[in-house]
């Protein structure tokens, strides 16, 4: 139904007239009017199926009252509905008696007990007792249907929510109703588990205890749980979640339905990585390098660790200090560090990105779009990462919009992606040549060119491969700016609060509030004691400088360059040559293990504040548990260090910091602390203005392939060796064992059979890896996902090259 067909209709529900929209289902109209009709299968984010019959109500459309399922009956003018009639009550009692015929009454040992819709509705609407005295149906219970989800078929009431979700929303129909009649049961295909990235959502929407999540099974009872509404910062999507804890330990995250962002859904990585916060391997006290044995870190107290850190910073002087990282931080923490770097240390060598994102110029300067804009645009042009792997819930939103016909997704890239199945067109280009392919398309008579130039366009722009420099993405942005001036952008930088960190000035050349260092706001000049005059170094330049011995003290602010920077050799060289490396982190990552001073920080769930998502939406991060050991918030560490360097950040609480952000950051003016603490934060507060004029850097050209090598493509996967994944026992084994994928013809040309170990050679390294033939890989390219366990792709990558080529040889 198109929008102009929607008309208001009046429906009488239990004697009260309510307004509803034609075409809307009765149950939804009643919900909005505050009349609750019991239900099991109906879910407002999925299509109605009328499976459970629990929502039967008396509906009179002029032919007398009849029992009808309110999730299947659209409202109509003059409809009279009684949700409390005797017939309705008898129907509800009957349905519940039927549902309980086979449902075991094992509530005392069921995880759902206490928050179970079947339990609750039986109490509210049920008959009180059952006439069924025969033996109930029995199945083996529970059976794992994936690594994360267990299925108890005895408890299942066949509402079709999980199977509908898997098919309609996730697009992974790996669970199905099988058999029929009394034997109907949800099952996977034998040996083909429900390994969807979104499987945890089925556990959340299951109206009984049939589906349970391995990380939460038997961990807590619902009435023991305390919860706080927060925002997931696993990636930059900013999905709203409810953080739940029991006995000061995080035990579960649930998705919260927010219209503008996640619609209640979460990816499994975000849903289950709370296990990392509870990990025994958390850093809980400071460490310093043992002066007598350089290979060992010694436990120490905060006083001496901070004193040595301050001394190292002072000794180096502003030009020889660098700060890398900050996307793990909340906006407030990021602001404190941004202020500390500029106002106290006097350096502009700060960068929240690890050389795997896009220049801050693009993130802050390109005309912005929201997620909702993308889902409503005539065309969404995706030139960047595989969204299913990197921004899984954005993939889900786009998939929903595309399958409902609201938008057309067009992709340009060198590799296949998880969006191929719903894209209107997936155009394969040469590695690093998306800009060229796009401009050829736009000047052709392809109908798509007209569609792009005439209709609304949202571009999702990012780095499709970490083995590519930023140049191809910059070139693409330039083509779009020139030829599709009406296009708006959703810049796909993926790491946690990277957007907020850039907003707070954790990027060389930028100050809080999306302003350039050359153009600070008046209130900022007043509050900050000094502002460096020249732009500093980004992560890549900082590491190069460090490798050349020009950086004396390097601060890793929740950053692990050895794993996340594209070029491991450079990162290793830099860390080794830097005199003092100060690491502020939650875990002893490979980079932290090399540091000279280690300061333990509080983790997610242990700190409050705000975060900013990919579209510039600010939402709340809530503290739920107390942090272990003597860990401290990142902003406190900044203020402590400032003190020891003879400065004062004049920040005493997170609230304080927000007040100052609101004053000094022009883009955040008017977003007062009161607003941030109000219910407005449920949907989040969108900040989209920017005060920079975009000056796109001139991109380097992609060098021509030499015909001998293969162009390396290194995208990210949802399951990888990320610290929070590795530290979550339920998730750590989900990453695939690494193998380099090549087109079968290329392998044949080299005379190498699939599945064998080969020597992979790049300008940076020579390593042995297993090679696999894959039809989906474009000829002339090789795919090796980034940051997987084992031999990492970052060993082969030269961060200064536009494209990295590799060669494969037999051993």
């Amino acid at each position: 139904m198109s929008e102009q067909d929607v008309t208001e209709v009046t429906v009488t529900v239990n004697g009260t007239e309510i307004e509803a929209q034609s075409g809307e289902m009765l149950i939804a109209a009643a919900d909005r009017a505050g009349v609750h009709i019991p239900r099991f299968c109906y879910h407002e984010r999925m299509s109605s199926v009328g499976m459970c019959r629990m929502c039967l109500v008396d509906v009179d459309t002029g032919r007398g009252p009849m029992l009808q399922p309110s999730c299947m009956v659209p409202v109509s003018e003059g409809m009279i509905v009684d949700t409390e009639s005797d017939d309705t009550k008898r129907a509800q009692e009957g349905i519940l008696e039927f549902l309980l015929v086979n449902h075991p009454l094992d509530c005392p040992v069921c995880d759902k007990g206490g928050e179970c819709p079947l339990q609750d509705q039986t109490l509210a609407y049920g008959p009180g007792e059952s006439r069924f005295i025969e033996e109930k149906r029995h199945y083996e219970k529970p059976i794992p249907i994936s690594d994360l989800v267990h299925l108890d078929r005895e408890r299942c009431i066949l509402c079709d929510r999980c199977t509908r979700f898997a098919d309609e929303i996730a697009g992974d129909p790996l669970i199905q109703f099988t058999e029929r009649g009394n034997s109907t049961q949800v099952l996977t295909f034998p040996d083909e588990p429900f390994s969807s990235y979104f499987s945890g959502n089925t556990v959340q929407i299951c109206p009984v205890g049939a589906l349970t999540a391995a990380p939460y099974r038997f961990k807590a009872r619902p009435w023991d749980l305390e919860e706080n509404e927060s925002t997931c910062t696993t990636c930059s999507m900013g999905c709203r979640i409810s953080v739940q804890s029991s006995r000061n330990e995080l035990v579960r995250y649930l998705g919260v339905d927010v219209e503008s962002v996640n619609h209640g859904w979460l990816c499994d990585k975000g849903r289950f990585n709370f296990e990392a916060v509870n990990s025994d391997e958390r850093l809980t006290s400071p460490f310093v390098r043992d002066p007598d044995n350089q290979r060992q870190l010694l436990g120490t107290d905060w006083g001496s660790a901070l004193a040595s850190s301050a001394e190292a910073i002072r000794r180096a002087g502003p030009q020889k200090v660098g700060i890398i990282g900050g996307s793990r931080l909340t906006n407030e923490d990021a602001y404190a560090w941004s202020k500390f770097a500029r106002s106290v240390i006097g350096t502009d060598n700060v960068d929240a990105q690890l050389g795997d994102g896009l220049p801050a110029e693009l993130v802050l300067g390109l005309p912005p779009a929201t997620i909702a804009d993308a889902c409503e645009a005539d065309t969404v042009l995706v030139i960047g990462p595989d969204l299913k792997e990197e921004l899984a819930i954005l993939h889900l939103r786009l998939r929903g919009a595309a399958t409902k016909g609201r938008t057309q997704v067009v992709q340009i890239g060198a590799a296949t992606t998880g969006s191929d199945s719903y894209a209107q067109r997936s155009i394969r280009c040469q590695t690093g040549e998306a800009a060229k392919t796009l401009s050829e398309l736009l000047s052709s008579d392809d109908p798509l060119a007209k569609q792009l130039s005439d209709g609304s366009v949202v571009v999702i722009l990012g780095r499709s491969s970490v083995a590519e420099s930023v140049d191809p993405a910059v070139a693409t942005a330039a083509v779009i700016q020139a030829e599709l001036p009406h296009a708006t952008f959703l810049v796909a930088v993926r790491r946690g609060n990277v957007r907020g960190a850039l907003d707070m000035g954790l990027a060389p050349g930028f100050l809080p509030g999306r302003t350039r260092i050359s153009n600070p706001s008046a209130s900022l000049t007043e509050k900050w004691k000094q502002i460096p005059e020249k732009s500093g170094l980004g992560t890549s330049e900082m590491l190069q400088a460090a490798a050349a011995g020009q950086i004396e003290t390097l601060i890793l602010l929740g950053a692990d360059p050895l794993s996340d920077f594209p070029d491991r050799n450079l990162a290793a060289d830099a860390i080794q040559k830097t005199k003092t490396v100060i690491a502020i982190d939650n875990f002893a990552t490979s980079s932290v293990a090399q540091a000279d001073i280690v300061l333990p920080a509080t983790a997610y769930g242990e700190q409050s504040g705000t975060t900013t998502n990919i579209e510039g939406r600010i939402s709340r991060v809530a503290q739920k548990i107390t942090s272990p050991g003597s860990t401290r918030d990142d902003w406190m560490i900044a203020t402590e260090l400032a003190w020891r360097l003879g400065g004062d950040l004049e920040l005493t609480s997170k609230e304080d910091i927000w007040r100052e952000i609101e004053q000094v950051a022009p883009s955040h003016a008017g977003i007062t602390l009161e607003r941030v603490q109000s219910s407005e934060m449920f949907e989040g507060i969108l900040v989209q203005q920017s005060s920079i004029d975009l000056a796109l850097p001139v991109p380097k050209d992609t060098p021509v392939a030499d015909g001998y090598g293969l162009r390396l493509i290194s995208g990210r996967k949802l399951w990888d060796a990320a610290t929070t994944t590795e530290q979550s026992p339920s998730l750590r084994h989900l990453a695939e064992s690494p193998s380099i994928k090549v087109h079968p013809n290329d392998l044949q040309r080299l005379g190498i059979p699939s599945g064998t170990e080969v020597r992979v050679i790049s300008t940076r390294a020579t390593e042995n890896l297993t090679v696999t033939a894959d039809d989906n890989v474009q000829r002339g390219t090789a795919i090796l996902p980034f940051n997987q366990p084992g031999v990492g792709a970052n060993r082969f990558i030269d961060a200064t090259a536009v494209i990295n080529d590799i060669r494969i040889e037999t051993l």
């Binding site: 129909p173 790996l174 099988t178 058999e179 099952l187 996977t188 295909f189 083909e192």
Partner: protein
């Protein structure tokens, strides 16, 4: 996954081509798989999923809904004895007992030589001819115990015209060249189909 023989794979492609959407060919392909193997194997379901562009789980969902798709090996001849009302009144119970002792298997199982699978079945729409049974879905009417023995002897000696379980010789659709319109999505159908025209399309 390779389950279909080359010949059947070609036939499968042709069957898929008859439908605007490949998924619609799922049930015909399940029949084809059953014809090739006598029952529907997991490998068959996986390959069908690949051919029609869906997951094996969805093929399993459809396949398991239908009683006549067997997901475990069955005999060359599947004998269904009707156990519903009319047949029950006319001695289907005795017939079943006799069949069990003659074949020396319980209802629902297969003889060790792999020749016969014995099953009880719901009404076969031949109530006037009770008690009735089906061998590979071909009717036998008013079956006495003696006739049952005779039938088994004939089947064992292949002295009959019942094809092996799974063979679709009587229901395989054949579209004559002049009537085939190929696969046309419903929205693209602008004119009446040829067989609606006055001269019957000839």
């Amino acid at each position: 996954m390779t389950f279909f023989t080359d010949e059947n794979l070609a036939l499968a492609e042709e069957i898929i081509g008859r439908y605007p959407k490949p998924r619609s060919a799922m049930i015909p392909l399940l029949h084809l798989a059953q014809e090739q193997e006598g029952w529907v194997t997991d490998d068959a379901m996986t390959q069908i999923g690949e051919l029609v562009g869906t997951t094996s789980a969805e093929v399993l969902g459809t396949c398991s809904f239908y009683e006549m798709f067997k997901r475990h090996p069955v005999g060359k001849y599947v004998i269904n004895i009707c156990t519903t009302m009319s047949c029950a009144l006319m001695g289907a119970g005795d017939l079943m007992k006799h069949a069990e002792s003659r074949l020396n298997v319980k209802s629902g199982s297969t003889t060790p030589d792999g020749l016969f699978t014995l099953e009880g079945a719901e009404c076969q729409a031949a109530c006037t001819e009770a008690p009735c049974l089906q061998v590979n879905y071909r009717h036998q009417y008013r079956v006495t115990t003696d006739q049952f023995d005779e039938l088994i002897d004939e089947l064992a000696l292949s002295d009959h015209d019942v094809p092996d379980h799974g063979v679709l010789s009587q229901i395989r659709q054949h579209i004559p060249e002049d009537r085939s319109v190929g696969a046309v999505p419903p929205e693209d159908v602008k004119v009446a189909p040829v067989w609606f025209s006055e001269d019957g399309g000839s």
